[in-house]
């Protein structure tokens, strides 16, 4: 009996135990169908209190039969429920008792109105079994609907869940319950309602995530634009600029002096960023024609032209005609500097005509080794007599850590009257044709 004391069933009558057992049977019947998770302690307390309260009422075996039959109707698919159904059809307490062995002692005790200690202990055992079943199966919606229709008790799931230990009034609101109260909605609906409003399609987190992804894509696009797309666009523009400059040069009256070797050498421009020559390198593409401007200021000159070191002589002169250009981006006018092979022609067009150099050698130097610009590169103390050309760009690609140097030696001078050298003739004429008759046919005859 100590177990009963602990669970608060001491004052419960046999009818209460019967009721409790009936609840347990119904729970077992429903367990086959559906299970829901409730606070086990809350459920147990609710059932225990209900049993205790019900014990004060006048409760007969007929009531019990109706009670069990109702649950049988509520859960017809259960095997235990079908057993109860047969009990209801027999309408006999003894048949009912024999049909359900767990309930038999209590039912017999009820009919004979004798409370034996053995039946008490069996009732206690069945109570524990019922508690275990309830803990496992909890209350299905069918069972709770059935209880509320009985008018005896209404289990309020929310009250149980929110109250934790719970008070009687929280857990049981049976007497006020409307017998016609519709059963709670199916579980899926309940679950949806419990989660609150349906998730909005546009969420703050979602927008932030999409913005971040967009930003990342734009960063990649920027790299692609800077080193690929813009190189193509700007390179093409610079080729057109060089070709247009060549036509302007053809119309200019040369400002030059013929040196002792019979080579006309132009006077250096006085203005920084003044374009004075066009570079052709057939090895870098048939349409390669980039303008050369005075100065090596990064943005003012180099972003749009090849830059001529003002400290070095003009094309064709004795000494070292040195130019520099970008290896990457801004048209990448010297991207292929490392592809030059010995003997490749490098043609510089000025107002006088075409100076053809041939690539001889290359090297990599530190940015501070500016003596490569000397008349004899790397030997600033020697006065050389050669006509050299130096092309310089950054190395390695993507970096400005070093410089790539290409040395070329003067090969020949082609006066404007002779027309462009054979290696670039097709490119020059194609560029003139592409630029149209803007400069007219006189462009080729204006040389001198």
């Amino acid at each position: 009996m100590t177990g009963l004391n602990q669970t608060g069933f001491t004052s419960a009558s046999r009818a209460g135990r019967l009721r409790f057992a009936a609840v347990a049977a119904a729970a077992a019947a429903d367990a086959a169908e559906e299970r829901c998770l409730l606070d086990p302690a809350g459920v147990f307390v609710a059932v225990a209190l209900d049993a205790e309260r019900f014990a004060e009422d006048d409760f007969t075996v007929d009531d019990f039969a109706a009670f069990a039959g109702f649950f049988a109707a509520a859960a017809p698919s259960s095997a235990l429920a079908s057993t109860s159904c047969s009990a209801v059809s027999s309408a006999s307490p003894s048949a009912l008792a024999s049909s359900c062995s767990a309930l038999a002692p209590s039912a017999a005790a009820s009919s004979s109105a004798v409370a034996a200690s053995t039946s008490d202990s069996v009732a206690a055992a069945s109570s524990r079994a019922a508690s275990a079943l309830l803990l496992w199966s909890a209350f299905s919606r069918d069972m709770r609907a059935s209880l509320s229709r009985l008018g005896r008790v209404t289990f309020r799931r929310d009250a149980i869940r929110s109250s934790g230990s719970g008070t009687i009034d929280d857990l049981l609101s049976g007497d006020e319950a409307d017998p016609m109260t519709p059963p709670p909605p199916p579980r899926r609906e309940r679950a949806r309602r419990r989660r609150g409003r349906p998730r909005p399609r546009v969420t703050v987190i979602g927008v932030i995530g999409e913005l971040l992804m967009t930003f990342g894509v734009i960063m990649l696009l920027f790299v692609g634009w800077k080193y690929w797309l813009n190189d193509i666009v700007v390179g093409h523009e610079q080729n057109k600029s060089g070709a247009a400059l060549a036509q302007q040069l053809a119309e200019q009256t040369p400002n030059s002096e013929v040196d002792e070797g019979g080579i006309p050498v132009g006077v250096a421009p006085t203005q920084t960023n003044e374009q004075f020559a066009t570079l052709y390198v057939p090895a870098w593409g048939a349409d390669y024609s980039r303008p050369i401007a005075q100065g090596i200021e990064q943005h003012e000159v180099l972003d749009h032209n090849l830059g001529h070191y003002p400290s070095t002589p003009m094309p064709g002169a004795v000494g070292n005609f040195a130019i520099a250009g970008h290896r990457m981006a801004y048209g990448a006018s010297m991207q292929k500097l490392g592809d030059l092979k010995v003997g490749d022609e490098i043609v510089v067009e000025t107002a006088d005509g075409w100076y053809t150099y041939r690539y001889r050698s290359g090297e990599y130097v530190q940015p501070t080794q500016v003596d490569i610009l000397a008349s004899v590169p790397r030997h600033a103390d020697i006065a050389g007599g050669e006509r050299l050309m130096t092309l310089m760009t950054c190395n390695p690609v993507w970096s400005t850590a070093e410089r790539m140097i290409a040395y070329a030696v003067f090969d020949r001078f082609t006066p404007r009257a002779d027309g462009p050298p054979e290696s670039i003739r097709a490119a020059v004429e194609a560029a003139r044709a592409a630029n149209g008759a803007a400069t007219g046919p006189g462009a080729g005859t204006n040389g001198g």
């Binding site: 399609r201 546009v202 979602g206 927008v207 999409e210 913005l211 734009i218 696009l221 920027f222 634009w225 800077k226 797309l229 813009n230 090596i296 200021e297 990064q298 943005h299 180099l302 070191y309 003002p310 400290s311 520099a324 970008h326 940015p367 501070t368 500016v370 003596d371 610009l373 000397a374 600033a380 950054c394 400005t400 850590a401």
Partner: protein, 56 residues
Amino acid sequence: MYGALWRAIPGPWPVKLLVFLLLIAALLYALATWVFPWADALMQPTGVTVGQTSGP
């Protein structure tokens, strides 16, 4: 965000796709024309030239 944009575009899905692609093309054009040159000017490489005074 993009889902909302997609839903905001009227018409059947081929029209939506066309409008969507046009919007993306317009965005790319704006980026390449204005945004990228502006950003490029903000992050120039350094050490391209060593300075006029050090040159011979």
